[in-house]
Symmetry: C2
Subunit: 183 residues, 2 copies
């Protein structure tokens, strides 16, 4: 398969960006290619579209699968595996956020709690700082847990009118007295 110039440039860009994230260039390229392909692709096709080795493709796909970022499809009468990305961009974003949280945030939260449990270490400042950090992460993950429950439609509304919401808070003292009275 030969890529159109548009595809080519898109794929290369995501390869570059991939490195700024935690993922490597090839994985970024594979993902980008699947993302802009209307039909599922098999490993062979990816391999020659990106001019990489077959084994590299295999590892890249494995990595993407471990992130839940690609879907496996089967074409009747063909026993090769075909891959796609979900059509729904929101689904993709949700997956991305949730996986990054799992890998980047959760282990840290666990570690911080662990450190706190080890009890007073005679280093008040460090202890206070760790507690403070843990509390902030807990607040943010708590918020995230709530957001996670919302359907796409409401999330879009929230984002589209985001800022007004904050102003709105001030006007809801009656509904949520604890909300405006706190602190």
């Amino acid at each position: 398969m030969t890529l159109t110039p548009l595809q080519q440039e898109f794929v290369l860009h995501f390869g570059e960006m991939g490195s700024r994230w935690g993922i490597n260039r090839t994985v970024g390229q594979i993902y980008a290619l699947l993302f802009i392909s209307s039909a599922p692709l098999n490993a062979e096709t990816i391999t020659d579209a990106l001019s990489i080795s077959r084994s590299n493709t295999s590892m890249g796909l494995k990595e993407l699968q471990s992130w839940n970022l690609v879907r496996l499809k089967h074409v009747p009468g063909d026993r090769r595996d075909y891959f796609t990305t979900p059509d729904d961009l929101w689904e993709i974003v949700r997956t991305l956020v949730s996986e990054r949280k799992k890998r980047e945030i959760d282990p840290t939260l666990t570690k911080l709690r662990e450190l706190e449990l080890q009890g007073p270490a005679g280093d008040d400042y460090a202890e206070a700082r760790i507690a403070e950090l843990r509390e902030m992460i807990e607040m943010m993950t708590g918020f995230y847990a709530e957001m996670e429950k919302l359907e796409t439609e409401r999330l879009v509304k929230l984002m589209t009118f985001g800022s007004r919401i904050a102003g709105l808070i001030e006007k809801t003292g009656g509904m949520f007295p604890t909300l405006t009275k706190r602190k």
Copy 2:
């Protein structure tokens, strides 16, 4: 300077995590060390607390400065540079988010717009996909721009009562008619 076991473990953890982000181990460790130190530290101190080379410390600090994650202080009568992290965790988070946006999101948005301007490339699916992605990123960065304006206090409220807000949207038809009538 010798680290307490608590500091040691904290620093090592952030070194590890650093790699899962885009930053390297040493940079993560330097940041972690500054974060849990009550007073500003100079390069020499960091160098021997972490057992790394002086030049590595210099490069790490430079990197952290380019991220705006670290503040330079001066101790009267001492001409060495001293470094700290901001006391306010919210400030740190804001910086982090804004820098990551600048490095990870903005260049992609620019690239996508650029690709769209190159005009019809006879690849309808890819073009549609790119437009869709651009729109989503625009919505999210728009939302972010609004959030950025909020003071900490309101942000905390928003996060603490996050989920209820979404429910609230439904009840504000009178205030924001376009909000509930859309689509």
